[in-house]
Every structure is written in C-alpha cells, then in structure tokens.
C-alpha cells in the first residue's frame, strides 16, 4: 500500500512539473509576429516608419558639438555611428561591477557624453536621450539581443521576474498574466504579444510617439490603474532588465512600430 502511494506521489509530482517545464520552453517571439501585416509594412519601410524621425533627431544630437569640450559623439564613433560595436549595443542593459548597478543604454550614452564632451547629463527618458538611444540601437538592427544572465545578473533578473509576476492596480493583473498566460489571444481588437523588448525604443501608433521600454512599462501599469514605478527607479530597471533578458536571441528591431 505504501509503495503504491509513493509511486502515485512520484507520478503526481511529475505531472505537476510538466506545466512549469513547458512555460520555460516557450520560444521567444518578437512583437512583430503579433501585429497586423499593415503595421509590419509600416515598420519595414524606412519612408513610412515614423520612428525613423527619432533616429534622425538622435543622429543630429550625436553630431552636435555644443558643449564645453566642443566635441560630438561623432568625433570618436564616426558621423553615422559605424565605429560603435553593434554586438556590444545588443548586450544592454549591462551590469557594472565598478558601481554595482544596472547600466541601461541610455545611461551609458548620457555618461559618455557627460564624461568625454562635458554635455549636461540627461535624466532617464529625457526626449533627447530617447532619440539618442533610438539612433544607437538602430545601428544594431538585426543584431541578436544578448543580455548577460549569469554572475551578478542572475539575482537581478530573478528580482525583475518577481516584479513582472506581481499584480498591480485596480485591474489587478501582473505583466505575466497577459504576456505569458494569454499570448496570442485577443483583448478587444488587439492580439496579445509576449511583451518583448527587442523593438524598443518603439514608435507607438496610439500616443503617436517614440517610447522607451521603461516608459512602456509605466504606460502599461497606468492602464492597470496602478501607480507606475518611478522613472529610473530600481524597480523599473529590474523589470526592464528581466524583459530584455527574455528577449535574448531575438533580433533588434528598433524602432519597431506597435500599438
């Protein structure tokens, strides 16, 4: 009798682990796969993708010398940014051992300008910084997202995941509810995507503006009737990191076009 129970118990625990294993095995898919063909066409065509305006603005800032050192990003990284290593761009956000923190691509750009050209450091998600980020990330288009997941990042990604799986606001859903559990289903006329980060900064068709990943998280939280995490807060960085780590292996599409 005891033996039967043990076998049953083993069998049951095996059955219970199947969904968890399956959840891990889900293949990452870009939001591109979930949008309408017309939206894809808008994204793919350089003449119709409205996000390209942000790229242009970013490039202008990249070549701007109005600072104490009379120096532009372009002086080191070339006018069109081609001296930047696209493989390295695809690694952001990165972990800095020196300052023991997550460094977003925006922060890296702002610091580089500040340290080497005397530009004023820009706060996270400042419109100019989003334009610069869009320009730089666009250089790495087609490159595969490659965020570090080992070492110090393991713990941080785990913390980001916990935030991702937490319910927020009056609508009381977690990110995971839509972007893990109901991917591909329709919410009104919209198909739910996996909420990947490879297309950011993204041009959003509804507010009609270029949007950083962190801003998109805040917008999602607001639509959950929740108090969004503050710009540049630890929480938003952890969530952004977790989302980008989920996107490992997906090709960078910045600026993607989405709703």
């Amino acid at each position: 009798m005891i033996r039967v129970n043990k076998t049953m118990l083993l069998f049951c625990s095996f059955i219970l682990t199947i969904p968890a294993t399956m959840a891990l095995a889900i293949e990452a898919k870009s939001g591109y796969e979930y949008i309408e063909p017309e939206t894809r066409a808008t994204q793919d065509d350089d003449f119709t993708n409205p996000g390209l305006f942000a790229v242009d603005r970013g490039q202008r800032l990249f070549n701007n010398k109005q600072n104490s050192a009379n120096k532009a990003c372009a002086d080191c990284h070339s006018e069109d940014g081609t001296k930047l290593d696209t493989k390295n761009i695809a690694r952001y956000p990165v972990y800095s051992e020196d300052s023991a923190e997550i460094i977003t691509l925006q922060k890296k750009i702002s610091r580089c300008r500040n340290n080497n050209a005397g530009d004023k450091a820009l706060p996270a998600d400042h419109p100019d910084l989003i334009d610069l980020e869009t320009f730089v990330r666009n250089l790495a288009i087609g490159e595969v997202v490659n965020v570090q997941t080992d070492g110090a990042m393991t713990k941080l990604i785990k913390q980001g995941k916990a935030l991702y799986n937490t319910r927020y606001g009056l609508i009381d859903m977690s990110c995971s509810h839509c972007h893990d559990m109901y991917v591909g289903r329709m919410i009104r006329g919209q198909k739910i995507s996996q909420g990947q980060g490879n297309g950011f900064p993204t041009y959003r068709l509804e507010p009609e503006e270029i949007t950083s990943l962190h801003q998109r998280i805040q917008q999602c939280m607001t639509s959950m009737r929740a108090e969004p995490f503050e710009t540049d807060s630890n929480e938003i960085k952890l969530m952004g990191l977790y989302i980008m780590s989920r996107s490992n292996g997906l090709k960078i599409e910045a600026p993607a076009v989405r709703y």
Binding site: Y168, G169, L170, D172, R225, A226
Partner: protein, 156 residues
C-alpha cells in the same frame, strides 16, 4: 520659527493637494460593503441593492466602466471586436445560477487564485499600488456590479 515653517509648508502644499483630488475624481468612493462566499456563490446582493439589467448591458460594453467586451463575447450586435481571453458569456445564465455569477463578477479569484480576471468588487485594501484617484475604490460600484449581474442573469 518652527511654526512659521509649518505654516509655510501648509500654504505651499494645500493648493497642490486640492488640485490633485479635483483632477482625479469628483466624488468620494462609496463605503465598501463586505460580502460572504458560500458554496462558490454570493447569495446576498451587494449592499442589499437591486440591479437593473438595462443599465448592466450598458456597463458591459462601456470601455471606461465594465469593459467586459475586452475579454468576453456577448450577444450584443454591432460590436467592432470582442476579446477571447475569457469564455463567451452568451447563455451564461443557463449554465450558472445568479448567486454564482455574482461571485465571479465580484472576485473570481475566490475560485481561481491565478485568474487574469479583475475582481470588480474586491476589498480596496487588497489592491497593490492603486493609481492616484483609485485608492479606496472598487473597480465598479456595488450598484454597477448588481446591474451587470442583473444583465448577465438575462442571458439564458
């Protein structure tokens, strides 16, 4: 000196606070009525209110109120798009008694803790990080919930 600063602080903070509340919601939230689950059902109507089916039908389709159409299909014509996250609700009243429908609208997580469905009358104290203007509130008012239930009860 301390008092001077205190007055200064009150003077500089109160206008901002007043405009905050104004901007957010005009009315104070209704007092929250507690409810009881028995056998996967809530037998008593919320706050003892009586629902009106016609009003419920409007709330169901209104994206700023119930927005039930975002996830469920209903027998309501001329709708651009229904969601398919939850089950279709056509004929729900022939599958569930009203008292069980009530629990599902009020707080379906009493049945499935992992459910994606918002609780339309969950205790406001249980809400994590409610947005400004939503603190102390339920998703719908007790009257609105009873109206929705009255409408759902007609879907036989």
């Amino acid at each position: 000196m301390k008092i001077f600063f205190l007055i200064l602080a009150i003077l500089s903070f109160s206008p901002a606070r007043a405009s905050d509340t104004q901007q957010v919601m005009d009315e104070q939230p209704d007092a929250y009525c507690h409810w009881q689950v028995t056998d996967y059902a809530i037998v008593e109507p919320l706050c003892g209110l009586v629902g009106k089916a016609q009003r419920g039908r409007e709330i169901v389709s209104d994206s700023s109120r119930g927005n039930c159409l975002a996830c469920h299909e209903f027998p309501i014509p001329d709708i651009e798009a229904y969601g398919n996250i939850g089950p279709p609700l056509t004929g729900i009243a022939s599958r569930l008694p009203t008292t069980m429908i009530r629990l599902r609208v009020v707080d379906t997580r009493k049945i499935n803790p992992m459910s994606i469905m918002p609780g339309f009358y969950r205790d406001p104290l249980l809400i994590n990080r409610p947005g400004k203007g939503y603190r102390g509130r339920t998703f719908l008012t007790a009257q609105q919930v009873e109206d929705v239930i009255a409408y759902l009860a007609t879907l036989k």
